[in-house]
Amino acid sequence: MKPVIVLSNNDGCAIARSEEAKEAGIDMGMPFFLIEEIIRQHKVAVFSSNYTLYGDMSSRVMETLGKFCPSIEHYSIDEAFLDFSEMKYEDLYQLGLRIRKTVTQHTGIPVTIGIAPTKTLAKMANRYAKKTKKASGMHYLKDQQLIDEVLEYTKVGDIWGIGKQYEKLLLRNGFKTAFDLTKANDEWIRKNMSVVGQRMINELRGTPCIKWEDEPPPKKGICTSRSFGKLVTSKQHLQEAISNYASTVSLKLRKQHCCAKQMHVFIQTNPFKTDEKQYFRSVDMQLPVATNSANELIQHALRGLDIIFLPGFKYLKAGVIVNDIIPEDQLQIGMFDTVDRDRNKIVMTTLDSVNKSFGRDLLRFAIQGYEKKWKLKASYLSQRYTTNVNELLSIKI
């Protein structure tokens, strides 16, 4: 099969690689310009990130998984936990094989499955399956012997939840594998790795300790920030970008039926161009009343930009982050509030329904602009095969 890679936002570096691409010598995070030669030589297929497509395929996979088990936690775009503890009489090995076959047939997405008594062990079994059980694509830690085998196989740095710092600490203290760690002294663990570490050890020993999250916890902050396709010097272009980010943030808020009370706006130059003048500045703003209206959020964001913008720099990146998020129906209106919130709400509902039927950002505020000179580079974009009727797969028959 042809090697395939996916580039990061802005086509900066390789963020996903097929097995064949790894073999061709492309490492994770390698900048695009460094791998152009390999790409030519090995005829690597290159794609820009297409999150519309990935998001749709992910929800198809999740939906298919949901048919096997009522209790499912969507852990990330490409990972899920399924709780089989109620299915006492099911042959879990056979069930695992069936799930894998069904997901592959229905969606075309290959998955790897790890089955174990705890989340941490399941992640470990999954990793083990990916590395050593390519044919079946799954591993079931049915008894302690099988658990021990995987614990011994797994280096401490590869355990779910162990970062670089803890890895160093553990290696220094003679813990090489996950198996070593299960024999650790509880007191030592609590002292050096806090209660989080203790929880992890218990999980390795087979006692579930990590909470089951059926629903994702409410978001603490929503951020839209991007690097520009090319460096931006004019304030007008920054205003365009910032108002687009504010509009995206407001859409995300409305989708969650939430409002935000605090906003953070930042702009920055390219820190890797050390020969150029550097500038990074951000501003935090308390909003008078929590809101999710695009017009208000854009106004606030532009006010923020006015405060932090300095001419004479080449800007690489800007962003809008909102915090202090509350449900829409718990809104407290200020006594001196002059904004017509009912009218705003009607405008936003209208905007969303028009854009939902006719395409994102079709109806927008004039400040958001049309040219998007600052827009991300995405020169190798695949089609949105599954969500856009104009980009469907076309077959010559």
């Binding site: 298919t64 509902t349 599954t386 469907l392 797969l393 076309s394 028959i397």
Partner: protein
């Protein structure tokens, strides 16, 4: 119950009335109103496994698949002989009728101008999904 007319943002909002006006005699049909027909529901049995593709070419014209037809492909259906399938043959997508006989496996067109393709072992062949519905714009034909 007010539906908001979407092009009347600024001045007055024109309601699209979807309940009978309270004055006068209540509609005798009100109790019998059902939901509108949902094409998604009607055409798609298994949404997470259903994909849309568009076709060009005339090789399947006698199986009611003219050029520009929109196909719904349901990957959850197990392909068997007689199904119209989307197949990948040596790296190329195609749409043909799958025939599995004692004489071998064939991808057969539905147009006498085209020849059936016999699947041999050297070929890289895979059924991608089964065509479950065909949508045709009758003004196109």
């Amino acid at each position: 119950m007010i539906g908001i007319g979407i092009f009347n943002i600024k001045s007055k909002v024109l309601p699209i009335i979807n309940t009978p006006i309270p004055a006068g005699f209540p509609s005798p049909a009100a109790d019998y109103i059902e939901e509108t027909i949902d094409l998604n529901h009607l055409l798609i049995k298994n949404p997470s496994a259903t994909f849309f593709v568009r076709v060009e070419g005339e090789s399947m014209i006698e199986a009611f698949i003219p050029p520009k037809a929109l196909l719904l492909v349901d990957k959850s259906i197990n392909a068997s002989s007689g199904h119209i399938v989307v197949a990948v043959l040596n790296g190329e997508f195609t749409v043909k009728r799958l025939l599995i006989t004692q004489a071998g496996t064939f991808l057969t067109p539905a147009n006498p101008k085209y020849k059936p393709i016999r699947i041999t072992e050297e070929m890289n062949f895979q059924v991608w999904g089964v065509v479950s519905k065909v949508i045709i714009d009758s003004l196109d034909i």
